[in-house]
Symmetry: none
Subunit: 387 residues, 2 copies
């Protein structure tokens, strides 16, 4: 599937703004916004420990595996025990998978995440090995293709999807996920695990001088964009160990992320280089981190009283006026004999184990109930303006 593009390239500087990442314990500097041409494992081994925030991998389909699988003799063997000779090709693919995943794991920061995309030929093996290595699967995602190639012989279902696995380096709880941003771009409904995205065609598809596609499995930029928007921040370092013609790098540049691209094939790397050079980043306002409720500064309820937004002695009620509590000067609430935080007293009032007091309690303003969360927002706005 090679075209006539480019010759031997040992290292390609992709961007004039390329810099290096801070030294790590290994004392090596990671080359940012560049493509490293060479063996994937060797290139990974040259990177510093804990230096990347996100990995996106589109690993190769093992040709040897394909060849071995077409052998006609498997039906003759009534397999109960493993026959090494028979499964040698799977074993080789597994060993390769284990090597590159292990190498990726080393260069990932502790809270980094990894994405892998594959089809039924390889994704089950990749997923099982991921788990064996200690990665922690967060979701499997289905890329539903808008326009898949039909099954010409009519012997199977149209292969209309590919599978992505999203996993953290370990089962530690911290990872990047822009939940609210994705929800906001989806009619205020949380984004599901099935994504409907067209194939990479038309102008987006890289063509050689002969008009033929440069790479057989070029992924759509829309797919990478959703991955990067969901699970990385502007400025994050995104590593693609099988860069191909550079979709990951192009989208990373467009969205204000840094990238490290590894590619064995100089032709692909050269095509990727030219492609990336032509990418203009979108404006920072279009990609700047959106304010998430979780990351907003904490506001003690007491601050609202101190700011005069709520008076000591006022009565708080729930939306429908079924529960009420008295505001004390110290920022606690009084309900019968009980004194406690807005959350504790809200939970107590409803007989529930927990409660978000900010959204549960209301004060009366101009004859209508106003959530105290609105007062908190006003406080934050005023505070920001003052600061």
């Amino acid at each position: 599937m090679h075209t006539g593009i480019a010759g031997a390239v040992s290292r390609i500087e992709v961007s004039r703004t390329g810099t290096t990442a801070p030294d790590s314990r290994m004392g090596l500097a990671a080359p940012l916004d560049r493509i490293i041409v060479g063996d994937c494992i060797a290139s990974l081994d040259s990177l510093a420990d804990a230096s990347v925030d996100l990995v996106f991998a589109d690993p190769p389909y093992n040709l040897q595996l394909e060849h071995a699988l077409t052998r006609p003799d498997q039906s003759l063997v009534d397999a109960v025990d493993d026959d090494w000779d028979k499964f040698a090709s799977f074993g080789e693919y597994d060993a390769f998978t284990r090597r590159w995943l292990t190498a990726c794991r080393r260069v990932m920061k502790p809270d980094a995440a990894l994405w892998v995309i594959g089809s039924y030929h390889n994704i089950f093996r990749v997923g099982a090995i991921l788990q064996d290595l200690g990665f922690w699967i967060l979701n499997d995602i289905v890329w539903r293709k808008a326009n898949p190639m039909p099954n010409f012989r009519g012997r199977r279902f149209t292969n209309a999807h590919e599978t992505l696995i999203w996993a953290t380096r370990s089962s530690s709880k911290r990872y990047t996920f822009h939940y609210e941003a994705l929800k906001g771009g989806n009619d205020d409904l949380q984004m599901r695990s099935d994504w409907f995205i067209p194939l990479c065609t038309g102008d987006e598809r890289l063509k050689g001088a002969d008009g033929r596609k440069v790479h057989p499995t070029q992924k759509p930029e829309a797919l990478l964009a959703r991955v990067l928007l969901a699970s990385s921040n502007p400025g994050d370092v995104v590593l693609d160990p099988f860069l191909g013609t550079g979709t990951t790098a192009a989208v990373a540049k467009k969205l204000g992320r840094r990238f490290i691209g590894l590619e064995q094939d100089p032709g692909y790397a050269a095509a990727a280089e030219r492609r990336i050079a032509g990418v203009s980043p979108v404006t920072s306002a279009a990609v700047a981190a959106a304010p998430a409720r979780r990351s907003e500064p904490r506001v003690p309820f007491l601050s609202l009283i101190e700011a005069g937004l709520i008076a000591p002695g006022e009565t708080l009620r729930d939306q429908r006026g079924r529960h009420q509590a008295l505001v004390r000067a110290d920022g606690t609430l009084l309900l019968g004999p009980a004194v406690g935080s807005i959350h504790k007293i809200g939970a107590l009032a409803q007989g529930l184990p927990a409660c978000n007091g900010w959204t549960f309690w209301h004060v009366e303003r101009a004859g209508a109930p106003v959530p105290i969360d609105d007062l908190r927002s006003a406080f934050r706005t005023a505070f920001k303006a003052a600061a």
Copy 2:
């Protein structure tokens, strides 16, 4: 999760029309249209070689739940915490998987096929072991749930699908696939690998005397119907090694297939028996693929950006140009310091409690304002076949 159903049952005859299959090389008769209560492996070992045409397996998923989960309203999610789903390690789960798959393989006819359903917790392991044992994967199928449980903490994508693997016993090319029937039931389009089917709820869901669900993971009959119609013939013997409350058997009976059901739990088996007794086979003329249910063609605003119909950084305006907002790369809008969906920001701009962003916002095309709803229509038209 047991209900008060039934007591000890050693073998349950489900149908008065039950017969036995022809003797095999092992000289054992397979009990047809019956449920065998007992250990799955032992029961499989009691069946004759090469005696079944199709296997459908819904094995334990090995879910690894760490804590109780509550909905935002503090109600408790009734999770799958049954003993039968607990395994000490991946290694143990793998060994279990290898045992039952190997046992199934023996009782499958040479041209028989097998289906397994699972989630990301187990399906990668199952798929890899399938391949190791010599099964030949034909497709992986995605069951897209119409009404999945949301992700209550907003920490991941909604887990909106499960995966099925369809595989033959070996790489032999012969297997049953009713391509034309499925195509006919799908508006004369090839049936794709992503199926949109609702959860099993309402009257179809088996309830105990206490009104609670009998089985935590009962599958929808529509799913089994599509599987059996696609990959089996009337009169074929369908084996389910994890019958549960009998969906496979009930659909098999309805569609004129024979079944062998294995179930460890006498309570589940008894419920299945009663259920199956109430099933009437449909006339053979009516045994055709149920029309595919089409998902609602909801289009995320983000998809318009991904498709290049709107560029990140563009300005949206209302019809008369009195309000404007900036399009962000993630499909949210930016208005002053506020970031939110097209609906939220539309409402904010007008000072209204709600707004339909699709009709409110416009982009400029050829010097004239175009509602973004028109772009959505264009997107739908371009990809309507896949909805």
